[in-house]
Symmetry: D2
Subunit: 319 residues, 4 copies
Amino acid sequence: MKKIAVLTTGGDAPGMNPAIRSVVRYGIGRGLEVMGVFRGWWGLINEELKVLSHRSVSGIIGQGGTILKTARCVEFRSREGQDRAYETIKKNNIDGLVVIGGNGSFTAAHEFYKQYGIPCVGIAASIDNDVNGLDYTVGTDTAINTALDAIDKIRDTATSMERIFVVEVMGRGSGFIALTVALAGGCEDVIIPEIKVDMENVCHDIVHGNLIGKMSWIVVVAEGAGKADDVANKITEMTGLETRTVVLGHVQRGGRPTAVSRDLALNLGRAAVDCLLAGKKDIALGMASGKIAEVAFETAIMKKELKIEQFYKLVKNLT
Amino acid sequence: MKKIAVLTTGGDAPGMNPAIRSVVRYGIGRGLEVMGVFRGWWGLINEELKVLSHRSVSGIIGQGGTILKTARCVEFRSREGQDRAYETIKKNNIDGLVVIGGNGSFTAAHEFYKQYGIPCVGIAASIDNDVNGLDYTVGTDTAINTALDAIDKIRDTATSMERIFVVEVMGRGSGFIALTVALAGGCEDVIIPEIKVDMENVCHDIVHGNLIGKMSWIVVVAEGAGKADDVANKITEMTGLETRTVVLGHVQRGGRPTAVSRDLALNLGRAAVDCLLAGKKDIALGMASGKIAEVAFETAIMKKELKIEQFYKLVKNLT
Amino acid sequence: MKKIAVLTTGGDAPGMNPAIRSVVRYGIGRGLEVMGVFRGWWGLINEELKVLSHRSVSGIIGQGGTILKTARCVEFRSREGQDRAYETIKKNNIDGLVVIGGNGSFTAAHEFYKQYGIPCVGIAASIDNDVNGLDYTVGTDTAINTALDAIDKIRDTATSMERIFVVEVMGRGSGFIALTVALAGGCEDVIIPEIKVDMENVCHDIVHGNLIGKMSWIVVVAEGAGKADDVANKITEMTGLETRTVVLGHVQRGGRPTAVSRDLALNLGRAAVDCLLAGKKDIALGMASGKIAEVAFETAIMKKELKIEQFYKLVKNLT
Amino acid sequence: MKKIAVLTTGGDAPGMNPAIRSVVRYGIGRGLEVMGVFRGWWGLINEELKVLSHRSVSGIIGQGGTILKTARCVEFRSREGQDRAYETIKKNNIDGLVVIGGNGSFTAAHEFYKQYGIPCVGIAASIDNDVNGLDYTVGTDTAINTALDAIDKIRDTATSMERIFVVEVMGRGSGFIALTVALAGGCEDVIIPEIKVDMENVCHDIVHGNLIGKMSWIVVVAEGAGKADDVANKITEMTGLETRTVVLGHVQRGGRPTAVSRDLALNLGRAAVDCLLAGKKDIALGMASGKIAEVAFETAIMKKELKIEQFYKLVKNLT
């Protein structure tokens, strides 16, 4: 293996840049030439890539987003698109790929590997933390702290004006962000896709709280479990109490990566290069049980089951 | 003058707590007894108030929101409500009021003063910065930095995914927040209530930018000038380009006050006490031309004209 | 078990407050009465403690420091002091203790348990992350992010003025903070107690960097491995280059706990109560292998060996 | 005037980058060619400069430091150095200079203008805020918020451990930062170069505070008024109380510029270009009385008198 390429695909996550930095510098240190592909699979299809030098990744360790840019690429789903991507790889003598992204990226990488046999190692980078077989992915910690910071701010108004707030956080298929920020933010309730919500119960708690003088209330909703407005309307309908909503949205994707997101990204970048050099492929890397873990793409893209009962109960226990 | 009361009304703003701290401690230092009224006018009507000691305001200088809580109070608009508030004032031997809030608060305070003659001094605290005759109010600087922080984060995704974002910030009657964050965030366009927007122009710039390779775009909209979704739909309709929206909402109200918000609040607290002791009344205090300024309530509550042409042009000039 | 007491001892760490909150609320939920002891062991000796209600821990989840205050207590090292502490425990019918702190606290708790048999469970809270048998303690993540934030800022000047900086971070016996922030901050070198430093090597790298145009340099030093000034003087002596120092100091102890610090604290609070109720004692709780782990006090207070070679090498590999 | 050059000199300040961005983009918009000079005067002497395009200043609006780098340049004090700088200017057909920096920079620029007649406009950028005739310079607001953030964190430990802290902040000749953060941080005392300190008084307050139960204390010292260690030793000597020190140092120079620092920088960049085009020269630009102000270099470099009595008294009044 003499030359590898690195690309970022899917939604951007804070920590992609340190991951790129690590792949490039560690790869060069191990004697490889490293190319950067722009806009994910699109760049492979359209031959938008270039050799990255040690210097080219200076000063990006603390930047959100990805200097390689990212995109969701429809063409890559077709055989024709994949063929063109493979041509680029051959033409540029690329011996291995590092794919930084989430489940969608790994599904594509897995298909591509099966079809063309080009060794592919994934770095799990996704704020949703929904890669199966892994406890933690690059970017999650940053997104959680961003959401927590917002909730701390909303708490100021909730307390001062004695109001109910419904705050919608990211997490289409996973309640991980919602659950962790609800706990860390001292939120009174949380609604996630993994657990069926009982709105009567939620509203009962609110009314009961009001009776004993607890007038402010923050309910966190994972986007995959419902819209903030719908939840708020339901609460108003059932309790008669005015309810405000905040949808945190894309703010959660950006920002300077936290220490955890950076260190994980840097370690995974190194591990990805080591894996390729050791002949490993068709696997995603992330953290599991406090260590760097390898998980087959096939496993990684399966539905992740969140072990959260105790966590979920704790939110309610501490309210 | 031996006893004064302080209250916070209207929407909470970061810096209300240091303002309270200053009124209480400086007031005590000048020989006054200071009472804190809870939930704004509602607390006067319902006699929810108590004497605040030097210690009672410890540790609040860096907290968002208001320890006295705040509320919007319908009862106070009626003569009956005002009578009851006045009774509370008489019963508790209160000689003067410090009202911390925005335009709505000052309108009420002005009416109350006219009716009952109780000396009232206002401290301008409103994130919207819409008090006429003043350049800066308590809380504005914090809200702007919160919005800027969010826009910096959104920029990471906008650049990485080469997307158009419409970001809605607070400002019902005023484009102050929108304009300052659009400039500071390097945003490509801004839509404010003070200036009629030409959507064709906005879209022309976007399309032109695309042609010369500028693929990411952030348009800031003041809530008083339109809904983010409407603006985004219009852009998609006119350009065919996918457009995302973020509504920052209540996040902008909370959070630890910045140095500017705290220092202004602390200075205004002192000034308010000095004003009452000097026999001044029916005035609001804020910053104008870099100094603490007094402005009659009657003036303060008039429509504020924003002098922004140069600022607005600069946003476009620097894109 | 009907009544337990909770105390914080040793240096404060961000997350102690959410830990207290969790012990109190979860404890009450499980039918216990929970007393809070002030100023650590000192409060036991001097009978400064009180029952904590559900409400008494409102609003502290996001606050640094500890509402119970903390102290280093010499009297507790004497038999007389311990006797008085035990008397307080008996007099107040306290059946178990939750001790929130680090190694010093656990040493004392272990001795106390051996002597008087009072069940003691520790919650590992120490920014240094030096509790043996545990991967992560409460407060570490916050301290690391604070240090990282400072290093990012120093980087701006290092780059702009093309200067060498030596930055001293906390860690008397452990290089954990130094190593993680050096990696996350993209620092060029790191000096820790666990690995003998070769200053000639450090200086050689700096001079070599200068020759190839790399003019700015940040060296992180753990306080246990040397003084920033000494390191800087050595560098200037050996290279002739001007070198600046920053000692981050106590800034690293405070601040709003991060999501990781809060969630860990909250989970450990619950676990501590569960342990006491299950009859467990003489153990410290923290995180190991991604899960909550129990480790005997005797083990916890032994010298922790940091497995850091790969981490250390990575800092150098990525420079 | 067809071509101008921009340079940053002296210590870096957060906001220099947005100032550069504004000079470049606004300058181009007004039909000028804009060159960037590297490392301040050094770059003029050594002809290190290049034309800056609109794109070259993309993405720097939120970055601390300066992309043009900065240096303190001894050679420029000699006639020979100045001659060489002037040659560069002639050779590159530069018609005017924008100098971004503080007092030292303006002294040099003023001399240079007197000698060679090249029009020079300064943008006041200095965290110390010590430019005479101006109320506010670029970078000050960011530095103050950074220092305040540190003091808020130190407060957590001061309160939890009931300790005295002496915190040294930047400000060689000016107590501006010290005073504003001491007030905003609720600090108990402040020592600045402008006012002779009475250590007996400081210590008396501390001892008195102790007697009435106020056990934690933060004293802010401007670096120009003394060393933190000396002040701490004095306090320990006079009161017998343990005292800790923190020297914030270079952390205060860096970081993402606040909204105020950015907007001021952007407006001054525009104003500097407008001034040069209008034939103005030998002046520095900053904010005074809430507006952009022009002040002759000769005035700007005189000793600035801080009007701070009321501010100073307020710190003590609110303790």
